[in-house]
Symmetry: C2
């Protein structure tokens, strides 16, 4: 018996065109069965979301906050079951990853979003009393959230950053589960639904479907009833949704692929080679490399220090256990990505099978190409190999390194390691000037895999890392703005104004 969808405030059997099974990627054993919804489910969910939105617009923001906080509490109360199933579905370890890091991050995000909703500054109320013109951001309407495979809790479509931001801004959410962890999403949606009922949220504020056809996905994001969409996932699928949403004039916020270049300058290597080797290897293999901000592209300058650095990384990659990937699909696309890089001219420094490697896995892989090769095939050599693989590009000199940076696509992050005594500063200045417009977040002397939930965070960047360079998917309150519209009140009588826009 397949699991139920949550549509229009009730858990019921889907209108389904078929079924799919979750799978344990560590054992390749099948898990539960979930329905592929037809358009009927989408249609009913959209109509229910429209009704929910009408009610949500009448509620004070404190109500949204109460819901988000109650939901966070319920996730904690069911923590053991949630992380256990998430680990079965993703092969991510319960400890420390899921129970110690990701689940607390998830509940923290929900509570930060609650605080932002209650406090209200995210809406930027602006009062021109002299002209009696006032404006603030308001909710955009029903939000569709497509969550990624790699963070089953913190970016889950029913509990993650997009969900929290969309709700905190006053919108109902239709969560589309990621097919690699439908059960985790179901458990979370159960708690979201229970919390919504307990706190008096409108029926239809949170809904869940597991999968649709590609065609219905495109129809969903472009439906007139939709306010906006948040999508995190592969570039190919994301760009199809973007094309559909763009055509309908519907905002869609995408977090797509990124190779997250890391430049390591010679002075940094001369100063603290082993430290940097350790940091890179840890960041590169963290979560079996399945982070949006995984450092997939090293940029180095030719010379002895770089040769030593690469040799040490190779040794560490050999010694490191091989992690299990999230799914058969990830393993296949990683293999294809590495293959494309090799066909584009990169050669393999190491493809280490090491220990570990249960279920779906690929070797810990480090490839190498010259700066010249990169400049001859910059697109192909920026293929994302999502997982435990990285490409080192060794430029002949700083000039060529600068050219490599100039040929980068938009990325979420870019890092430069340099000598702490200032020995690399001239090189830093040239490189950073070129790197800055290519990335959403510029780092010094640290790897990009930590994405703090900070008001100053930007988990965003230029296309094709995202769909719009002015928004961030992580960081509260800024992330709320994606799911908002600017609303002006001109000459509106005082008693009709939103409370935040009345004279103090």
């Amino acid at each position: 018996m397949p699991h139920s969808v949550l549509v229009a405030n009730r858990w019921r059997l889907a209108n389904s065109s078929g079924y799919f099974r979750a799978e344990n990627p560590a054992t390749k054993e099948p898990l539960d069965e979930y329905p592929v919804s037809t358009w009927d489910d989408c249609d009913e969910a959209l109509s229910a979301a429209v009704e929910a939105f009408e009610e949500l617009r009448k509620l004070p923001a404190a109500k949204l906050a109460e819901f988000l906080e109650a939901y966070a509490g319920r996730i904690e109360a069911r923590k053991d079951e949630i992380v256990k199933l998430a680990s079965q579905e993703t092969a991510l370890p319960v400890t420390p990853r899921l129970a110690g890091n990701e689940l607390p991050r998830t509940t923290d995000q929900l509570r930060q979003a609650a605080a932002a909703a209650r406090e209200g500054a995210w809406a930027a109320p602006t009062i021109d009393a002299k002209n009696n013109i006032r404006s603030m951001y308001g909710p955009i309407g029903p939000v569709i959230v497509f969550g990624p495979n790699n963070f089953p809790l913190a970016f889950n479509s029913a509990s993650g950053g997009d969900f929290a931001a969309a709700i905190a801004a006053g919108n109902p959410v239709i969560a589309k589960a990621n097919s690699s962890h439908p059960g985790t999403t179901r458990l979370l949606a159960e708690e979201a639904h229970a919390a919504a009922q307990a706190t008096g949220m409108p029926a239809g504020s949170v809904q869940l479907i597991y999968r649709t056809s590609h065609e219905d996905g495109e129809r969903l994001v472009s439906d007139p009833r939709v306010g906006a969409t948040g999508y995190t996932g592969s570039r190919a699928a994301g760009l199809k949704l973007k094309a559909a949403a763009d055509k309908a004039g519907k905002p869609i916020y995408l977090e797509l692929s990124s190779v997250n270049p890391v430049v390591v300058l010679p002075g940094a290597l001369s100063e603290r080679m082993d430290d940097i080797v350790g940091q890179f290897v840890a960041s590169s293999l963290l979560g079996t490399g399945q982070f949006c901000t995984n450092p997939g592209l090293l940029i180095l300058l030719a010379g002895e220090p770089t040769e030593s650095f690469l040799a040490k990384v190779v040794e560490k990659f050999k010694a490191a256990p091989v992690g299990t990937l999230l799914s058969a699909g990830v393993a296949k696309s990683l293999q294809q990505g590495v293959g494309m890089l090799i066909r584009a001219g990169a050669h393999t420094l190491v493809a280490a099978k090491g220990s570990g490697g249960q279920g779906y896995c690929q070797p810990n892989t480090l490839l190498r190409a010259s700066g010249q090769q990169f400049l001859e095939a910059p697109d192909a050599l920026q293929t994302e190999a999502f997982g435990n693989a990285a490409l080192a590009v060794v430029a002949e000199d700083l000039e060529e390194g600068c050219q490599v940076v100039e040929h980068l696509e938009g990325n979420l992050t870019g890092c430069i390691y340099s000598h702490t005594g200032g020995g690399d500063d001239a090189a830093y200045d040239r490189l950073a000037f070129r790197l800055r417009p290519k990335v959403g977040r510029l780092l010094n002397d640290k790897m990009p895999t930590g994405v703090a939930v900070s008001p100053a965070m930007n988990h965003g960047g230029p296309y094709p890392a995202t769909g719009h360079p002015g928004f961030t998917a992580v960081g509260i309150p800024a992330a709320l703005r994606r799911f908002a519209v600017l609303q002006c009140y001109d000459g509106v009588r005082p008693h009709r104004l939103p409370a935040a826009l009345r004279d103090r």
Copy 2:
């Protein structure tokens, strides 16, 4: 001899595929000849803009402010010549419109943008000192501005709101002149160029081309060298540019068509009928109806007061002089728009030729349809008839009026007139709740044609009035955000941070 383009810091003959003539719409006399640029001009301008952007990124914001202020001063010094040519090209009167209102608005916008650039709060610097994560908005790169026909100064691609916002955010501008006032744009660009040189702005910060093929326009907005595009104009052309830009992942901010619904409730009519008649007629015919915020759709409730109101408007439309339209194209599309409304079931209450009407003109036109008709053909009856025409939709009752509002497309503005004593408040609440999500600016008891340059203004709204409901084209500093990207600095060493992000 056709006029020169301004590309890569010099006025030179265009690489042209042909020529077009400006025309005096009041006399239909041809004016000067201007080139249609080939891709070569676009390509050279883009490369020069990229170089300018590299230099602009190194300059302090005070430099941008100096330029904008010097430019405003130069416009004022050449005021007589500019407004004279603008009047010849558009038939808009020198006094009071161009010299008294639009030119001062233009220089005021440039100076407000200068103040915003100098002050810097628009960039929202955000410092998380504990984690050493910091972020702010930075410039997006070369901005293409397509200006509209109806504001030859205040929305001019080389002097208007988009220009001011793009420069103040730190971007070079490639201005694409509107073909109905190329000479005005040329004079303005001459002053912009002179001011740029006098204040030491990088070569290529301001460039001007007059016209391209449609194909090259689409290529321009989607070129990899472009940061973003600002477009104000017709929906058909705007959506073609949007499709091209969207496909390339390039932000494009559009201000397209809007019928700007005005609801007049019975209590307001019983209280102050003549006032409202006067306000509507003045707003409707202002600038011969050629305002983005022209009230093109009245929504009224059936009854004696509405019949009296319409009868009085008809008399005023008959008595009012007929204005001259901006061009042959505007006259033709107005005629077509009125024709489409009539074919969709509207009937003509008045099409008054009155006095005036030199050159390109159409009668002052008021059409009427029932609420039922509107609900049967909501798309066709929302056709924008840009110019001195409006449609009155008379709903049978409040319920039907609410349905009419629910069927509205996205609009820049929406107004509700109601009894000041509260007699219409129940109806207001129902209507305003439905109107709010349809419009960027909600007004009470006033017409929408005044668009104050206020920090609280929203000259924006849901699609298809614009391309994204979170941004405004008027209002400083908010308008700058369109031409900006979010940039985070994570662990970046203090001396490498932008000044605004250093510890205080």
